[in-house]
């Protein structure tokens, strides 16, 4: 048993089936299966309370540093090309310095990994972090089965609370997302229920359904028309330029006069190339420097000695196209190496660390502890679990519970 975290006893088969069904039908987890893999893990990971307090404090420090760095980066457009952002995004960001978008509740998620050298982070999801159903709904259902353990927090509730504090009862929050993508839709449905439980009104819509005038947005759909008091965005910022210009997507980057969560300027720190501009920043980033493995622009030397490095796309999400020797297949590595050669400015190389395994019921597992912060305060955990030291689409969602 690790001194830091360990695997709990698996749920009995009938209990697990009940938890799974409730998570699907009541919490709205609509993607519980990935090929032959049941996505919801049948046992929890138990985290020592002192460790939770420790990484919660680290996450809060990271959140403060991230926000400060973003503020500086907004004023430093000369650094944006280094971040691997699309040209249209960079163009929109240039206007943010003069007219920054109004900040709504700020939500981020820092993904912690336990390594042989202690805790490390691999990235921040500062743009559109997901996982609320699993971190709040699924984890709560699992926690009920383990009376001696407790939840780290309820990120969805904390996020909705922050909206309530910002807007007050009756205000309309538009949840802007890719409506055709059921995996995204489920998150929006879950959060909309949280908002409505607090007396706010909600409308699920595409960002293209917003009509912007003088920095304010109205939603115009067949099911709802009205002025938005705030916009909760669950549409990656780098995809916004795919929308027609006339729908005003640039307001997510600048000039909005209603709260946005998160404003698209968050993309400046979401980029995995964010560490490449640290030397040019005046913002001190001691916690980031302490917790993030060495990160550099990839070059020929690293791709030839790739035992020591992990390669990631600057704007990659959910672990896609991450290359790790011994984990990534040879064919995929060849393709990634070719992509790096063609456009090295869209990639990073990150010094590889040795993840500490936790003994699971069927062998070693590698948990990722995603700590949410809302307006700078740590509010809960999204757990993912892999059978190999790479968190990607083949990972499971796991409830990470705190030892009492």
């Amino acid at each position: 048993m690790s001194a830091v975290m360990w695997a709990g006893t698996p749920l009995a088969a009938d209990t697990y089936a009940a938890v799974r069904r409730t998570t699907i039908l009541r919490c709205g987890k609509w993607d519980p299966q990935f090929e032959d893999l049941s996505v919801l893990c049948e046992f929890p990971i138990v985290l020592r309370r002192s460790e939770w307090q420790r990484i919660a404090a680290l996450a809060e420090q990271l959140a403060a540093e991230t926000l400060a760095a973003e503020c500086e980066l907004v004023r430093r457009p000369e650094l944006h090309p280094r971040l691997g952002l699309p040209r249209a995004v960079r163009r929109a960001l240039r206007r943010a310095a003069a007219s920054a978008p109004e900040d709504g509740p700020r939500v981020m998620r820092f993904d912690f990994h336990l390594t042989t050298a202690g805790w490390r982070i691999t990235e921040v999801n500062s743009d559109v972090p997901g996982g609320f159903i699993e971190a709040s709904g699924f984890a709560r259902e699992v926690a009920v089965c383990y009376p001696s353990l407790r939840l780290a927090g309820d990120p969805a509730a904390a996020y909705a609370d922050a909206w309530e504090r910002r807007l007050g009862p009756g205000a309309l929050v538009v949840l802007a997302h890719a409506t055709a993508y059921t995996d995204d839709r489920q998150v929006m449905v879950y959060l909309s229920k949280q908002l409505e439980a607090r007396g706010l009104r909600s409308c699920l819509a595409s960002p293209a359904d917003l009509v912007w005038r003088a920095g304010r947005a109205a939603v115009q759909t067949a099911w709802h028309t009205g002025e938005a008091a705030g916009v909760l965005r669950f549409f990656p910022a780098e995809w916004l330029p795919n929308l027609p210009r006339r729908c005003g997507w640039e307001h997510f980057f600048h000039s909005s006069r209603i709260p946005l969560s998160n404003p698209a300027t968050a993309l400046l720190t979401q980029s995995k190339r964010f560490p490449l501009v640290w030397p040019q920043l005046q913002t001190p980033l001691p916690r980031w420097r302490n917790l993030l493995p060495e990160t550099v622009a990839p070059n020929q030397r690293q791709t030839e000695a790739w035992d020591d490095w992990v390669f990631k796309p600057a704007l990659g999400r959910v672990g896609e196209d991450v290359a790790i020797r011994g984990v990534t297949g040879e064919d995929q590595w060849k393709r990634i190496r070719r992509a790096i050669r063609w456009s090295s400015g869209d990639w990073i190389a990150q010094r590889r660390f040795e993840a500490a395994a936790v003994t699971g019921p069927q062998g070693p597992v590698f948990p990722q502890v995603g700590v949410y912060t809302v307006d700078g305060a740590a509010v809960g955990i999204y757990g993912r679990l892999a059978r190999r030291p790479l968190i990607d689409c083949w990972s499971q969602d796991v409830a990470i519970l705190i030892e009492e």
């Binding site: 609509w30 990935f34 595409s206 960002p207 359904d209 759909t221 929308l243 006339r246």
Partner: protein
């Protein structure tokens, strides 16, 4: 009938293929009607073109709208387990109308429960052939709920074989190649040595061998992401604004 009871009928806990049932429509269920009349249309649907259930064949039914569900129910009468894979939300002004399927799922539940299918009954995976093109051009302010299937939505070839499935029969309105997104699924099975056949669901129709051609981006790890991107891009990033019909499936 609650949504839990409905889900338990269509995805019984102990049935082999229940894990792949897409829950989204069940989670949205508000219909409680459970009466069944003798005029229910699936009672007259014909599925005699299908192999016998003990022939160790899995079916993939890719027919438009409720036709796939009706076919699935007719197949249930022949011993197949219908596995709904409809992965879209219903809603006002939706590009792909889901209410008829929602309603039929609820209405047919007692009938399906009365089939007493064995837990290892071979699967009939049910898809809406109009999932990508919908039945109308999405207009500004309408609900774009078009969807695609991905290999991850199905069991692997290994899993099929380990549960005695020795071949797969594609049921679609016309002979020829499957839709592009489904081709990604079928080609994986084909390359793993699972024989494929295709049939049109007409009286007297006989299954023909199917050789799936390699779709673009086959086995590309980003297929899922790019396809989703394509959905957005081909609709001009629309989702309710300027939304021309997609020029092609991106799979």
């Amino acid at each position: 009938m609650t949504k839990e009871e409905l889900f338990d009928i269509w995805a019984p806990e102990d049935a082999v293929w229940s894990a792949w049932v897409k829950p989204v429509l069940f989670a949205q269920q508000t219909i409680t009607r459970t009466e069944m009349s003798s005029s229910e249309e699936w009672l007259t649907a014909d599925a005699h073109w299908a192999p016998r259930a003990h022939d160790k064949t899995a079916l993939v039914v890719d027919l438009p709208g409720t036709q796939s569900l009706l076919t699935g129910l007719a197949l249930a009468a022949r011993g197949y387990r219908p596995v709904p894979l409809y992965n879209a939300c219903s809603g006002v002004s939706a590009a792909v109308p889901m209410e008829p399927i929602l309603e039929l799922i609820a209405r047919a539940a007692p009938y399906l429960a009365g089939r007493f299918l064995p837990n290892n009954a071979p699967p009939a995976f049910l898809l809406d052939a109009k999932r990508w093109h919908g039945t109308m051009t999405p207009l500004p302010g309408s609900f774009d709920n078009r969807w695609l299937v991905f290999p991850q939505d199905f069991p692997s070839a290994n899993f099929l074989r380990s549960h005695a499935v020795q071949s797969v029969l594609l049921v679609q309105p016309q002979a020829g190649q499957p839709q592009s997104d489904l081709a990604h699924v079928l080609l994986r099975w084909q390359q793993a040595g699972v024989p494929l056949h295709v049939v049109t669901p007409a009286p007297g129709a006989a299954p023909q061998p199917l050789q799936v051609q390699r779709p673009s981006m086959f086995r590309w790890a980003w297929h899922r992401v790019l396809a989703s991107f394509g959905l957005r891009r081909n609709s001009a990033g629309g989702f309710g604004a300027i939304v021309p019909m997609p020029s092609s499936s991106s799979g």
